[in-house]
Symmetry: C2
Subunit: 279 residues, 2 copies
């Protein structure tokens, strides 16, 4: 688990199958993707997805992933249980769980997820969400984070087109939209795992909307994948353009939606999440 | 299960607890909400939600519901299993399953779902999705469906502002957006169950986008609830304004997003789904 020849992302999502128990894996949290009080939600999503992608019964590729952050994941060992509950001709439905031992050594569920994988066939296709106009990534400065920035943010190269973190937390926010170029800070070809993680890269929209850093955390995220292995291979280590905005902020919870395009303008993923906030 | 004094919706979502097995219920499909080859997806979502709402350990009210349509539900009896997998101070995480007996009498999972319920506290609140301008419902004609229309559609009063079903299936569609007023055809005060069902009321966007009625069906739907019991009571039997559009149509699957507002302009729910389509 500490093979330094591996990319930090691959170390973070590494799973070791438990012999004789199909779909059960062991893993360990990574400090490289640590958030304030637990792992970056995106890395947890990728770890759960990995449980299905490594399963010998896997059919097709990821279509829809919902991850529910039921309780805090603590630093240390965890288990992933991936169960294909229904396999159809062209779709497969999964239940995924991340578990950690409590003080009595009993495994407790910290995170639940459902996943649909699918065999895709060529059909009429059309994206009605064109990529927004944006300056090329190379024309924009790389975002630098304040000294106290959380670890996972350092794993990404982010170049904001608009909606960077507020520089004045003066409570005067008037919108919640961010557009930014992003990719792994240490080059790594895009795959479904990193795409799942990157779908959660947009900091809580309420910070921007209110220019106030209230406590906030994702409760549940759903990502739809609109891509395939061939297209991901074409993207390689290129940038993605991300676009995210908050929608309804109501009594402690708000939702935010996001899209991720390739530099070539292909919509790779759409994602929505519901986020807890305080005050 | 056939109490004709009940509203058809209440008959359709009726569940009978199985004694001695907490969270396990028995129910029966309703012809009133039948779609082409199975129940309307929205009624299945409401039935699963009902399993949690009737559970004695329920904390708070619905926040986020994801329903995965793993296989066809057939006419007849079913079971619902609702399991609270984690209860926190202000949120509760659920696994929900709908099961039907196969030819050998063994219960098989047809539908999986995850739900988050939450206790909400008054906080700073703001909707950044204002209700679109639309003529009042009373100024619009009620949509009439062709004779072969499926049963569930008859349970709703729909008044299209724009984006009604194509009248010419000529393959010349150029957008996928519908705005419509909607409510139960037989008056029934809005609750979380009917709101969950109504979030799935928008027919497959690909029919409108292509003006071609290709086979299509929801694979997974996620609905975020931005409302509470007091606000639902205010809506009562009033209309909701729905707004929906497709996003990415790619090799057999597309996603569509939707919002539902009260007549007073309050955003009650936002919903996304991923839909299978052929050709």
């Amino acid at each position: 688990m500490t093979d330094t020849a591996l990319h930090p992302f691959d170390r973070a999502v590494a799973l070791r199958p438990v012999e004789g128990q199909p779909g059960l894996y062991e893993g360990h949290t990574s400090q490289d993707y640590w958030n304030m009080v637990g792992p970056f939600g995106g890395i947890t999503a990728a770890i759960l997805l990995q449980g299905a992608l490594r399963h010998p019964q896997l059919l097709g590729s990821p279509l829809s992933l919902t991850v529910n952050y039921a309780s805090a994941v603590v630093a240390g060992a965890f288990q992933v249980q991936a169960t294909p509950v229904r396999t159809n001709r062209s779709t497969q439905h999964w239940l995924l769980q991340l578990l950690q031992a409590d003080e009595n050594g009993e495994q407790q569920i910290t995170t639940t997820a459902t996943l649909v994988t699918a065999l895709r066939r060529e059909t009429w296709s059309q994206s009605d969400l064109p990529m927004p106009q944006a300056p090329a990534a190379g024309e924009l400065e790389r975002m630098t984070m304040p000294g106290k920035a959380v670890a996972w943010v350092q794993q990404y190269e982010l170049r904001a087109v608009s909606g960077a973190l507020p520089t004045h937390w003066d409570g005067r926010g008037d919108h919640s939209r961010s557009q930014l170029w992003l990719r792994d800070a240490q080059a790594r070809p895009l795959d479904f795992l990193s795409l799942a993680a990157m779908s959660d890269i947009f900091y809580p929209r309420i910070w921007l909307r209110r220019a106030t850093p209230v406590p906030a955390g994702t409760v549940s995220i759903t990502t739809y994948f609109h891509t395939d292995l061939a297209q991901l291979a074409e993207v390689g280590t290129g940038y993605l353009l991300g676009d995210a905005r908050g929608q309804a902020f109501s009594n402690g919870f708000f939702d935010q939606s996001a899209e991720l395009w390739s530099e070539a303008g292909e919509l790779l993923a759409t994602s929505n999440q519901i986020v807890y906030y305080k005050e």
